[in-house]
Symmetry: C2
Subunit: 387 residues, 2 copies
């Protein structure tokens, strides 16, 4: 493969980095954000980006639509980190455990509008007991719209009403929330549209039932990256959540939610060896840099631990990371590859597109940002981990 | 299940921790270290523990047999971190890329006896050029004893001698190194013994060939956690490397290298919900806390994302983490479970044994140490990540 002259600049810039490391293509990220924002704005629905994928103040500032949010988080650590940067309109979108309520209250006392999520009477009881009636903890009831994991069945009016009653006046029922997690298994655009409509209808139906029984229920929150990009109606929905779309990944490309060239993250790596009789090229990015995620294993095209690109970010046809140890990746052609593999001498730098952006990003403590002007990877944006 | 009174103390101590977090059972770790040390001492062979699993100064000090090592590392970051703590006899056991040689030289100039690994003429050329003849970089040639990943075929005398010649006087050929990575796929004690003997014979044969051609080759380094525990002879071997054994995990238990109750790591988690009609208990440890590693998927007993234990660390029969999202784990009975699942109310604390200790530990920034006296998790040992 010939590298056009325009790419030489970025080649030089990236060559100075120690490998493996995480690259973020700012232009692609900005495009992904602009696309979803425009889609939701046209539909007249609110946008509450999920910050769990990025875990970065710099990325969060580009995602949020207001000065202080809104946003969703997956850990209280995220709530604390983003709140310290002024992002204070937050939903902690994982079912609350009673032992975390003192920390929730401490965060709220710092001026953070932190809403919690629950799907059981035990949790409602704990929140009601922990709540200060002068400043009740805002609560969303989680709905299980598609059997993916947590939540009350949307038609289980008895449990929904019992939770609402148990919260009582000392906590503040704000509404319902659901996540179409099964949309990641969709195999067609029609299936994605159906998943989105099911997500919407489940949430709206439950909210209407609660309202009919005297509960205000102002918030109807839905979202997943696939459904956010395929929903045809948001009637009755007040906000959409999505997170992985900011970077996208091979799993999303595999279900048709993005194109491979929308993927904004890649892992920069260096060739350290070969087993030529097997067609293997060995790189210095193993699962520690790529993550163990094998999300495309069940898709029509198994992309292994990631798609191999040249330094300019262009996929090398058919070449993937077929296996990964801690600090070794094995690059080889997919079984269905039609082209031969190029010679990649020791020292060659490559970029690996991630199977699952959330998991790959989590293995790194910073993003090396390739600016929207193209070429230079000069900025470093820190990211945090932990709970 | 009834919790004996003796366990109540640890129950109280662990209840104060935020979940999810990583627990380290010091007594089990010490037992694992003592067992392998005694085995290798009885065989009269040297021990070079691999520090990539622990990435902790405190654990490293218990692993090493001398004041400054010896030890193996998988990244230059590990070399720098451990060297700063006085552990300076180090082998960087991943094939060297030429772009890392300036950093290797910088580390060596700080007084670290850092040895590098290679398996090609290109690397030998780069090391020879980078080496200071007054202080040549010590080199081991990597051998591929079982087709696992990197290395020269042990019988490829032509390439081995060409590498040795190319290194010449400006670098210092110290010997050969091999890793029986395929031993993780062994299905019997006999297969493990055979893998260990093949590992030994491959390394010794290559070293003898090099010596016969005038290369001193004082180091013959072998090792993997499975073979280190099953080798019957170390004749001709000078040192054994192993890393994962310090904590052990379900993959190692699955191939019979340890018992489940040797596993020294676990992830402390809290129950946050249920889908009772499916037999699901939802916990606040997803793949972010457990890792995406599914290493037992190909073993006779698939332990999912980990085995579920009570607060005292006792496995609950048949209960595993069957699925994991970023911050949610789904606990359910294995298909082959004979006992029913106990009721685990919201707020219940559980401990999850890791599928792969290296991968699970990498998701955390510290160990909460349950002291050898039992009971209290008072100490925190930091661990580092990155390259």
């Amino acid at each position: 493969m010939k590298i056009p002259r325009d790419d030489r600049r970025s080649t030089d810039s990236l060559r100075a980095l120690q490998t493996p490391c995480l690259l973020l293509d700012e232009q692609r990220m900005d495009g992904n954000i602009a696309r979803l924002r425009a889609r939701l704005a046209a539909a007249g629905v609110g946008f509450r980006p999920h910050l769990k994928t990025a875990k970065s103040i710099e990325v969060a500032r580009r995602l949020i639509t207001g000065a202080n949010g809104p946003a969703a988080v997956s850990t209280l650590r995220e709530a604390e980190e983003f709140a310290s940067a002024g992002i204070t309109d937050l939903t902690y979108a994982v079912g609350i455990s009673p032992c975390k309520l003192p920390r929730v209250q401490s965060i709220r006392k710092g001026g953070v509008a932190l809403t919690v999520l629950l799907d059981s009477l035990e949790q409602a009881e704990a929140v009601a007991v922990a709540s200060d009636p002068a400043d009740p903890i805002p609560v969303l009831i989680e709905l299980d719209c598609d059997g993916h994991r947590s939540g009350v069945k949307p038609g289980d009016s008895e449990l929904l009403l019992a939770i609402a009653r148990r919260l009582g006046p000392s906590a503040c029922l704000r509404g319902v929330l659901t996540h179409a997690g099964e949309s990641y298994e969709a195999e067609s655009a029609a299936a994605l549209r159906a998943a989105a409509e099911n997500e919407r209808a489940s949430a709206v139906t439950a909210a209407q039932m609660l309202r009919a029984h005297g509960h205000a229920c102002p918030v109807v929150s839905v979202g997943s990256t696939p459904t956010a990009h395929f929903a045809e109606s948001y009637e009755g929905v007040t906000e959409v959540r999505a997170g992985a779309f900011v970077f996208f990944d091979l799993v999303q490309a595999g279900i048709g939610v993005c194109a491979e060239n929308d993927i904004a993250l890649s892992v920069l790596t260096t060739v350290i060896g070969h087993q030529r009789e097997k067609g293997w090229t060995v790189i210095d990015a193993g699962w520690m840099a790529l993550s163990c995620d094998r999300g495309t294993a069940g898709q029509p095209v198994d992309q292994g631990y990631g798609v191999v690109c040249d330094m300019a970010g262009r996929p090398i046809p058919g070449l993937v990371v077929v296996n990964a140890n801690q600090e070794h990746g094995i690059v080889a052609l997919r079984a269905d590859a039609r082209a031969g593999a190029p010679e990649l001498p020791v020292g060659t730098r490559l970029r690996i597109l991630p199977s699952h952006a959330c998991a790959t990003a989590a293995q790194h403590d910073r993003y090396h940002v390739i600016g929207a002007g193209g070429g230079d990877a000069t900025a470093e944006w820190p990211r945090f981990t932990g709970w």
